[in-house]
């Protein structure tokens, strides 16, 4: 009888340890961007390629595991969506630094030229999630960020929640 709580505690620890191994963030950024495009109202945007990583952003393609970039093509709006996964933490550090630079340069350009776009830009930011780095500048940035965050390992987190739920139910089960 006294052993039951100890056994249950041991099971919970094992379950949590198992969950943490699969708690690595992962998302197919091409798919994420495709999902985002369903929400984006700007119809004058274009995808950029790997050839644009270094000249436009100073990002070494050797640091990038996967990416998707979608940018306003008219020259008159600040809409720019950059989704990247670094190959490792150090790569992600470098990518984040480059995107922060890009963000600041956008602010400099827009502040005096396109005040409404600047106001929109100020509500957006560069975000880092593990080895993922994103800059989502869009009037629909809240919806797009939700798509992005939902895409970052929803399955692992749900599995962990299920593990915890099962552990709680075992704990609550009356002793035979």
């Amino acid at each position: 009888m006294k052993k039951t709580p100890v056994v249950l505690l041991a099971c919970m620890i094992l379950l949590l340890a198992g969950c943490s191994k699969s708690h690595t963030k992962s998302a197919d950024l091409t798919q994420v961007m495709a999902d985002m495009k369903q929400k984006i109202s700007n119809t004058q945007m274009t995808d950029l390629s790997a050839d644009d990583l270094m000249p436009d952003y100073g990002i070494d393609s050797g640091d990038v595991k996967q990416f998707a970039i979608y940018i306003d093509s008219t020259g008159t709006k600040g809409d720019e969506i950059i989704l990247m996964e670094g190959k490792n933490s150090a790569s992600a550090d470098r990518i984040e630094k480059c995107l922060n630079k890009r963000y600041e340069q956008k602010k400099t350009e827009m502040k005096s030229y396109l005040p409404e776009e600047y106001a929109m830009l100020e509500k957006c930011r560069v975000r880092r999630d593990g080895t993922y780095v994103a800059m989502i500048v869009s009037p629909q940035h809240e919806d797009l960020e939700k798509i992005y965050l939902d895409a970052l390992t929803p399955r692992a987190e749900k599995n962990c929640l299920r593990c915890l739920g099962a552990a709680v139910r075992i704990r609550q089960k009356p002793a035979p």
Binding site: T46, D47, P55, D56, C98
Partner: protein
Amino acid sequence: MKRNRYAKLAAFGIAAAVFSACLGFENPAATTAVIAGEVGEPASAPSARPAVQVCSAAPSSSSEIPWQACVSETQEADPSFLDDAVFVGDSVTLKLKYYAAARRKKDPSFLGKAKFLAAGSMGSGNALQPVSAQSIHPLYNGKKAPLEDSAAKMGAKKIYIMLGINDIALYGIDRSAKNLEKLALRFLKVCPDEELFIQSATPMVREKQLKSLNNKNIAAYDKELLDICQKRKWNYLDVASVMQGSDGALKPEYCSDPGILGIHFTDTACNVWVRYILTHTGKETGG
């Protein structure tokens, strides 16, 4: 007596303030929202004026140098002519940049391997400012640098410059043209063997003309650029000539923002622009 002295001091102070404001064209703080600042100040009557073909007019300066600045039309060159070209400009050029990126997905040879140095609010005035965290100089390979240095790093042998829209209201026609001349000389100082193509600023739709930024002033600015090119023996590309209608305004079908600023291009306009560039290479055989 005291009243006279104070009056003289006040007059002197006002004169000093006016004088320093006139020198403000190189003051970074003066780089403000040229176009945005003019919103709400439309021209009293949108000017409808016949189109001006800058290159068909004689140069205003009397010179013994033969007429050569205006690049004649030739056979269309192969896009590879632009492999070593860098396009320097503002938001109008930014549109060309992203249009080229989109076209190159299906046609990698579109515009050759031309590169771009463009920023939305760029003008020759703010391009002449020192590089800083707040300066407008576009990043290249993650670094901010003077345009001429970035172009050199890009391996530019041909520089196509289109600036002025963000200068005219701020600095006036004459000073804007002189700033562009100064900027162009900086490119040649860094790379003396670069070939310069000074592109005219392009017109705006008739209804969106403003008090200072309007087609009459743009045409006057372009005329000054032509005179500079004539004097310096630089190539002058009258891009405006293929963008304007009979009234001198940007053709409606070429304008992507007729309800906003009325100066930016559609994809169709970009095609016309690219064709103009490739048929005005300065080479008889088209490169």
